[in-house]
Symmetry: C2
Subunit: 339 residues, 2 copies
Amino acid sequence: MQRPTIADIARQAGVSKGAVSFALNGRPGVSEATRARILRVAEEINWRPHSAARALGGARADAVGLVIARPARTLGVEPFFARLLSGLQAEFSSQSIALHLMIVEDTRAEIEIYRSWVSERRVDGLMLIDLKVRDPRIAVVEQLKIPAVVVGGPGRHGRVSSVWADDRAAMLSAVEYLAVLGHTRIAHVSGLPEFQHTQRRSRALRDAATRLTLPRARSLHTDFSDAQGAAATRKLLAGAGRPTAIIYDSDLMAVAGLGVALEMGVAVPHDLSIISFDDSVLAQLTHPSLTALSRDTYRFGVQAAQAMMAVLADPTKTKNHKTETPRLIARESTSPTRS
Amino acid sequence: MQRPTIADIARQAGVSKGAVSFALNGRPGVSEATRARILRVAEEINWRPHSAARALGGARADAVGLVIARPARTLGVEPFFARLLSGLQAEFSSQSIALHLMIVEDTRAEIEIYRSWVSERRVDGLMLIDLKVRDPRIAVVEQLKIPAVVVGGPGRHGRVSSVWADDRAAMLSAVEYLAVLGHTRIAHVSGLPEFQHTQRRSRALRDAATRLTLPRARSLHTDFSDAQGAAATRKLLAGAGRPTAIIYDSDLMAVAGLGVALEMGVAVPHDLSIISFDDSVLAQLTHPSLTALSRDTYRFGVQAAQAMMAVLADPTKTKNHKTETPRLIARESTSPTRS
DNA sequence: CGGCAATGATAAACCGGTCTAGTGAACGGA
DNA sequence: TCCGTTCACTAGACCGGTTTATCATTGCCG
């Protein structure tokens, strides 16, 4: 027999299709004895539900969609995504929810995918990442009426749930740490300026600079690539009154910056302290190892997945879930100023 | 109207459901005039196919499955997967094929997922990675009669297509390069011994050692983690008659090994040459930068995806597709021996 | 002009589940 | 004893497509 169906179960157990459906889904309508018999038969003939048939009846797709809008080719170098993905997956797979993944070029394409996935009922919910200032996706998911979770909020995202970390507090802790070490000329090599998390960090630096009266505190924007991270570093170190400390928005850029410093004969941490806003083996394997704002990105993914499952369970309840604030881990790349 | 269906199109265009289906799928059975009218109506009311309904009729799921059987937590650090994934995605998305992704703990769980995805008709094909010696998955996919592509073959995998690179030739080129530089004591820090690619590399080293009469050529197995890579390095460098060159199976382990060497006062490349079997920014950002066997992993992913689409188009045609052999890129971590 | 094939279209079955309305039997209370 | 309720279960509609069998019309050929 090719691929047993509930009709086969029904025949063998001597009941109707409906009864089988009730039994298999744990709903009332059958006696315990019958239920047990049906389950036994199902087990025996190795029956599996046909997801399409289920979905057709309006049931869940048991899949969540994630679209990443960055050039596919550059994605591989960013450890953050892989770790986030791992965390999401670990949690989702515990509920047998698969991840529908797609990498596209830009937000327009991303929105197109959302529309088709939703109207084709491929996914039950969407995870939005890299939220931008005035992000058009928010309006789209609200219009599509599909459960969504913003990873890396919160921002202006109406009634959509979000999971976020306090970038502001993290940045402040890094700046204060540097200030205590005697640094007054602090620079920030950031990511894309249109991202909300980039803006939060840059603003936090500005505010801290005002409060602690640090002159020359500045943010240089990049596209997160190691090349632009290196270029920004070169620019900072070449100028007069160069910074004594640089905070990088990713470990990849921090490592690239470290390379530039060595190349230019700027000793780390003696002449320049370096802090990475993201931690990974990468930051730990360099010499000197990098002081970093560390958080458990895997766990962040797990929490994002949990938030999604909460929204799936009750779409009316939206919630902003704040996760652990990245903590500063002091390593070898920071030291007091020499003066 | 909530979610237009082909019945709506049929009504508005004044034809039957069947005619609409023919028109939308570009099959014969309707005149050009009618077809055009139907397509126009479909466009107008913004109709999208309901993937579940399609699948129920036995059609394609337009998704390909990929299960990675490694501890989710450690996955994020391996740049290889992210790049492979990017390449796969880029190619698949050009055909609107989504990737169904799941990360599990072991091969048993992986096989379970295969069974359920196939019987639930969630995917049209499966990508198998990290092929092991006598891998049980081969028998499973053959039994399930689902199109599959082995990424990183070829091995004993019957009539299943594969996409692979010539690890043996790559390893030989690395060993020969080192031999020319005067190295005779060459070690290899490899990955998990049960993987076929690990075995091919280890065997290539042994063969080269015999041919070039290199004593003490040996492979040390690890689990691919930076910790075990470091431990293996420490063991190698602590012993008497330590190697003058080490080849690492991944850039992550190579970087970890580099750190251990620096820590132990072994100068790279002066006292020790290092080659990484995998290239990425990681290898380029260290100091000294790492000589590496480089290949375009993104492209590898693209080719794997193409192989999958070929099998989907005609499941009877299986093929072993050999991709570019990793080429040695000399950087700063290798030099002639001092003697 | 008759027979036959090709064309364009329709109606209905079908895929494998879910779910609702309905049925018969057992049970309980007055 | 009789009615109402609950329980266990059945029959069949339904979801939104695809596909097959069927049919009418037209055109072509001998």
